[in-house]
Symmetry: D2
Subunit: 504 residues, 4 copies
Amino acid sequence: MIFHPANWAFRSSVWCWRSRAVLKAALKASDVNGYRWYSTPIRGGVTGMEEILARVVAPLPTYETRDKSPPPPESNSLEFMHFYGSLDKEDKLGFLTKLSQDFGVDHTGVSELALRLLDAQLRDLVTILQIEDRLRYGLTPRYKQLLNHISRAEGGVKFLVDLRADVIEIISSKACEAPHIRDLNGTLKSLLSEWFSVGLLRLERITWQSPCEILQRISQYEAVHPIRNWTDLKRRVGPYRRCYAFTHAAMPGEPLVVLHVALTEDISDNIQSIVRELAALDFEEDVNKINAAIFYSISSTQAGLQGVELGNYLIKRVVRELQSEFPHMAQFSSLSPIPGFSSWLQGLLSQYKKEGRGSDLLSEQEWKEVEQATDSAPGSAAIEALRKLIATSEWMRSERLTRALEPALMRLCAWYLYGEKRRGYALNPVANFHLQNGASMWRLNWSADTSPRGVANSCGIMVNYRYFLNETSKNSALYLQNKDIAASEQVLGLVSQFQKSSKL
Amino acid sequence: MIFHPANWAFRSSVWCWRSRAVLKAALKASDVNGYRWYSTPIRGGVTGMEEILARVVAPLPTYETRDKSPPPPESNSLEFMHFYGSLDKEDKLGFLTKLSQDFGVDHTGVSELALRLLDAQLRDLVTILQIEDRLRYGLTPRYKQLLNHISRAEGGVKFLVDLRADVIEIISSKACEAPHIRDLNGTLKSLLSEWFSVGLLRLERITWQSPCEILQRISQYEAVHPIRNWTDLKRRVGPYRRCYAFTHAAMPGEPLVVLHVALTEDISDNIQSIVRELAALDFEEDVNKINAAIFYSISSTQAGLQGVELGNYLIKRVVRELQSEFPHMAQFSSLSPIPGFSSWLQGLLSQYKKEGRGSDLLSEQEWKEVEQATDSAPGSAAIEALRKLIATSEWMRSERLTRALEPALMRLCAWYLYGEKRRGYALNPVANFHLQNGASMWRLNWSADTSPRGVANSCGIMVNYRYFLNETSKNSALYLQNKDIAASEQVLGLVSQFQKSSKL
Amino acid sequence: MIFHPANWAFRSSVWCWRSRAVLKAALKASDVNGYRWYSTPIRGGVTGMEEILARVVAPLPTYETRDKSPPPPESNSLEFMHFYGSLDKEDKLGFLTKLSQDFGVDHTGVSELALRLLDAQLRDLVTILQIEDRLRYGLTPRYKQLLNHISRAEGGVKFLVDLRADVIEIISSKACEAPHIRDLNGTLKSLLSEWFSVGLLRLERITWQSPCEILQRISQYEAVHPIRNWTDLKRRVGPYRRCYAFTHAAMPGEPLVVLHVALTEDISDNIQSIVRELAALDFEEDVNKINAAIFYSISSTQAGLQGVELGNYLIKRVVRELQSEFPHMAQFSSLSPIPGFSSWLQGLLSQYKKEGRGSDLLSEQEWKEVEQATDSAPGSAAIEALRKLIATSEWMRSERLTRALEPALMRLCAWYLYGEKRRGYALNPVANFHLQNGASMWRLNWSADTSPRGVANSCGIMVNYRYFLNETSKNSALYLQNKDIAASEQVLGLVSQFQKSSKL
Amino acid sequence: MIFHPANWAFRSSVWCWRSRAVLKAALKASDVNGYRWYSTPIRGGVTGMEEILARVVAPLPTYETRDKSPPPPESNSLEFMHFYGSLDKEDKLGFLTKLSQDFGVDHTGVSELALRLLDAQLRDLVTILQIEDRLRYGLTPRYKQLLNHISRAEGGVKFLVDLRADVIEIISSKACEAPHIRDLNGTLKSLLSEWFSVGLLRLERITWQSPCEILQRISQYEAVHPIRNWTDLKRRVGPYRRCYAFTHAAMPGEPLVVLHVALTEDISDNIQSIVRELAALDFEEDVNKINAAIFYSISSTQAGLQGVELGNYLIKRVVRELQSEFPHMAQFSSLSPIPGFSSWLQGLLSQYKKEGRGSDLLSEQEWKEVEQATDSAPGSAAIEALRKLIATSEWMRSERLTRALEPALMRLCAWYLYGEKRRGYALNPVANFHLQNGASMWRLNWSADTSPRGVANSCGIMVNYRYFLNETSKNSALYLQNKDIAASEQVLGLVSQFQKSSKL
């Protein structure tokens, strides 16, 4: 025999000892967690967890009886939901670790099936298909069945979305190294992907007549350009604006992903013209002035739906909606922030200062302006002065400096967006999102977001990712598969200026 | 090496040669199928099918790039849906066979992974978990991805439900022996199970104010006690009646499973008192006269959702709904038909005639009544005479005979329901359904359905399956796992009379 | 003193003695009318009526306290509604007569105010305005207040609509000559006109998704071209069809007036092409084939809203709706039946036979065809033969006769529509309706309704009343004020042919 | 002849010369009012007004043709609405004056009919009824027809509601003495009363799921206890709270009258416990803790619906609603503010100071406390000191003073509510409203509204008007007709204490 399933028990018991400590703490803390709903008294901590899990996570039926087993009582789901809800953060970690380790896949069974599959290779296809199907079933974690049942309880789907948010947090915080948690994440993601399949989503246009509950959430979730008050909110759903969201039957009143659109004459190069307060809110739209749709904010609201594609589909669905409302509309574009550009630039300056390569970044003339403006010596001092100017947004105060730095900041920013990568894809997350969707990097806009936040994040620069509808499929495939970025001449021009100046 | 994946190509090509013939026919028929939506001309038949499948069923991305591949263009889904819709029945068979055989699981890849999994058994758990995850992914049929995408198109979910109905028909008609079709069925069932998970369903009470579209469908789908006209329909949604359905966001206006309920003083023992026409329809319900809820008809409407549990959940959901409307209601019961009892009884009579065991069925006195009524000799002749009486429903015309046969028919029917099995479960499908749900076989009712249909099917007998709410979980598990049937004293009494008389 | 209010009591008691007899009958019948809702026992008949009326029709508050009197208890309204509902037809007549006579205007008070008004003429305007306002209040019938309160009860508005239907029937059947009933009618009409003012109506498009309750009513109310079954009904709300209704918040689920529209390429000249069954119902509309909107049926559903303008407003509202859905649609027309044409024609033939003026109706050649076809002698016999042909629709069976009679029937029909009048307005009620709305009499269509009903009513002829939107105001005013009929050249040509041939 | 209709022209021209001046100003101002919608140029000012009015206010049809006259074109209504909307306040005064004076009742015609009516007194009743009907018609102002047509235009009903608000303002500001304006007001009120009849209103429960548009309005309109922010608003529609409004089909999204209800264990004696912020908002209601419904705020939103009874009906409708939701609820009561009590009290103190009657208000002991607390001499000085304490809310700062003043303030307040009258009805408008509705003055609550506003308005006292459902009819009638106030023993006790101490 080449494998020893008997060893599992031992091995899995050493996994994640860091979480053991947590569990010990949980043991003490558990008394605090009042638990009144169910008659069975919970003794708390590891014991309580084990007891509950053993009770509510029913064993998988055998392959033969898989269609003949009654669903577990709904109280199992409710007990699980209630118990989990009563845990604090550390207990949750322990609980999820336990769930994923002890109630996952039956590895012994799987390896036996793998052996049978290999044995069957010389036999007929019927047998092979049958063993494959058993294998498929055998690879189901035991807890998957419970998760499925939870989805049927009232509020169950939302519970699972939030549960996955916790799982993601555990993984990204590296609180636990157990690979089982990744399996749990994978199982949850695959279930949620089915339940939140686009065919089951509903596009809702949010207006001032929408339920207050939804509008308040829209207001809370808007992270890109925060909404300050009722008037601000009313404007975002008023004339020349559209606000769309995907909602789901199992989570009523909860927008999953929200897209704000401005209807404009030309592709906007400035965000204040969109989100600043207008005098009146009750005027009529003039359809003749509407030629372009500008996606100026898109926000996902459910951390637990990470990796479940929604934003992309929402943009495409909204494009269809707008085309049917405005048959002649032909321009679709984002007006997007560039989070991270300033930080990246400051890092770059620090590094070039160290390496003495300041002249690779700015031209002689440009450096002179910096030196004059900051009264600093050429070289390191000037680089450091520039870094400070960027860090403090001080450069904006001098009109002359602003004019002088524009070309440099624009070509640096173009490079940041186009040239900086992570695993081959655009480093900037907003860029990565739109490029995946098949948009092209169309135009960098100077002085496009002059709010303190805009200047601090990206020196006031914003970018349009433009959606040419008959090219998005192609662009998306090229980007995802070949990592090619579709970009306009303006962007490519700026990139090449950067490359020349920095001798790349 | 003990397996030869290289052999697959050959082997799979010999599968299902019966369907080959079909494909040849399809080759000829294909010219007929006009195909105008897409510019690519379809040359028809096998070639057309192959071409289309090759185009629209994209290869599975590799495991590594599975989250990095763009969704195929929506036109793929539309083309598939349109093409399939244009096929006639035989072409569909060929097409589905091809799809399931040539675009299913990559068996070679799977067996390689199985080998790697076995190799890894001595190594660490991380590796094992990773290979298991690859294996899980590797067991995904290539067409699953397309099915997923189709669900996102408008009308896509309904298309897949209907597609599965075709697949089920192919399997049950044994038109094709290919095991691949079973895989396709399994894949579809698992997808549909997720999409039609109870958490995503919506309970709708159907009233006279519901959309005509839904009411017409309710009317069409009602198979148990057919609806004859508007007045009949109006009564089923009028006072002392409730009609509930599950609907799904992806199939608007389409009731998936429909439950008709009568609100009565006592548990009904007669269906005509429920479905016969009442004089008036506009009177008010008197809540004091409502003590029991009688489920007198439940119909699933989508053949393609076979095996996706809906009826069970609907009954439970409706019980909750009724409890909240009538807090003091304590009696929940079906009033169910017994399809197949007459046929079974006729078969039994034929067999006992052959075996000369007439006396095992009826008592001496009972046979005498039959002989007198039919003017026939004892023994074979009387048995045959009785068979004919049953077959023609003639026995009902004689009050005396009716009275005489009641005890015999009741105990035979009790046995049919309680004692006749298929793979250990109740042979009668309605019994099987309610027993699975955890109901108990509560009361057989003589002269309960005196319509021609009722007499022809089950000698006018009907049965109540009663739902004792705090026992359904237990009953359901006992039945599904141990094949134990919960039954009342009345039923058990009748069964034991039958056993005594038939010397079982 | 020039007037004697003291005489009222006597005078009003002699009014309507015919209804006295009715009341006597009511006296006997009243025992039958069970009356359980209210504790006060009703002794029945006149006494019961008087008692109830005295109790529930509160006296009008004085002018000074009119804003300071509490509303009567709701039970008054309910008692009135219930009591009236329990009456049979004859009792209703007696009851309404009593109500309108004994609980109407205080004539003495009014004449006193009239005197005060005349006295005040030399005084200041303030006084005059004040007395006028008192007079206005004094002219309010006492029962008006009760009617107002009834409108607030649940179902009260519908009750009053039906009450007025009874009043109208009484007036038109001349069951009672009492002028007081006319006053009651006037009061009801004025109240209903306010409550059913167009600003309070809601336009609903009826589709297959509309509540069954509404569609069944649409089906019942469609008097012009009766709806035979579900399929027929489904087609009327399917592609290339529109069905609109006005509904009212106080009568939910009740369409008040219904308009059926066909969307066509050209103005239809045949009704069967609109209402005959189409093969399929689920195809899509091709917007390029929609140039005209044909109003092929309009039905008022509430007899009690007679004289409350609804149909006219519905047509205009629907035109606006269609223009917004099909901006380029420019043709709006009815395709209308001509009820009464055959009867009128038969009357004309009888009269001309008597007067020996047959040659004024048909040409020599036309008569010859009739004589040949019917094998009858010229003159009286031929006229009588033609009358019979028309009465029996027999003429349709002979193609030759059909061809021969077409010109004659067309010009006679044109005259019937255009030339025959009642109090100066078009005798034909459908013509009168559309001409009032401002339509013009646009085209007579031969062989337009070949159903037995269509041939029997109007020899198969139908007419288009066309709505030229920028002329309807003018046409309407000219018709209503000057009795001028707007008509097309085709119609005028036919009329002048008639006039020539008949020597008018 | 005793009257001279010829004089009218002259007389009406001298009415309201104050408004003449306004019109002169309008003449100048008119150029400013851009007027682009209609082709006819408006020359502005009096001339423009006259011209427009002459054009859009069509003459009344004669009595005979009243049912035969086409409705005026909709453009008349739109022109009127637009023109009026473009006027500033002063122009509106002039315009309405002109409309009501020159386009009102035809006084000559009315007086002629009055004469005919008197002449007819000796003749038969038919004639009298006919002349009365003509008189009724003759008393219709010419502009009534236009107002009716405006109600049919989109937004027309709301326009008329706002128009009446302007009319009411003119009357109450006494900007114009013209009695015609009162006629216009009466006509508008009578039309609006019909359109806003309770049968046409819709009760809406406002929740957090209601449209934001409505909730924002609810927030704006809440005058009794102002709403500060979203959380505050959310609480008012959250658990243990209900918010109901009447809406009207012709004014969608516009609550007409709003009632806030708290569901409590006992009848509340303190407003802060109702409107202060709760920790959580998402808990469930415990139905066992709900015994009483407290109406803690009712607001009418439309000035133009003054005198159209809505609040009374809303309270009664809500009581029915609550009874159906909580069948065992038996306590219904307001918790009402007492606006005006402090002002009244200060007035009283000033007067008593003048009259030297301080001892009629407070007992010796009470005065002592005041003197001590304020360090003031007895008599006038103490009275003035007390007045100041009240005016500044300073007395609240001293616990001792508070305790000392409680009995005095309570009995004074009871008197203010119960004994102070205006035209025989309660002077306090809130008291008058609830007493009209039939509530009884049930309990004065000390320290019930300790907000600065509450202390300033009514020394922190609030009052419960309790609705004993089977007494409201009787109470309402007694109050409205006899001016009797239903009050509890507590209130009557306080009143009698006041009377004793003040020697009334």
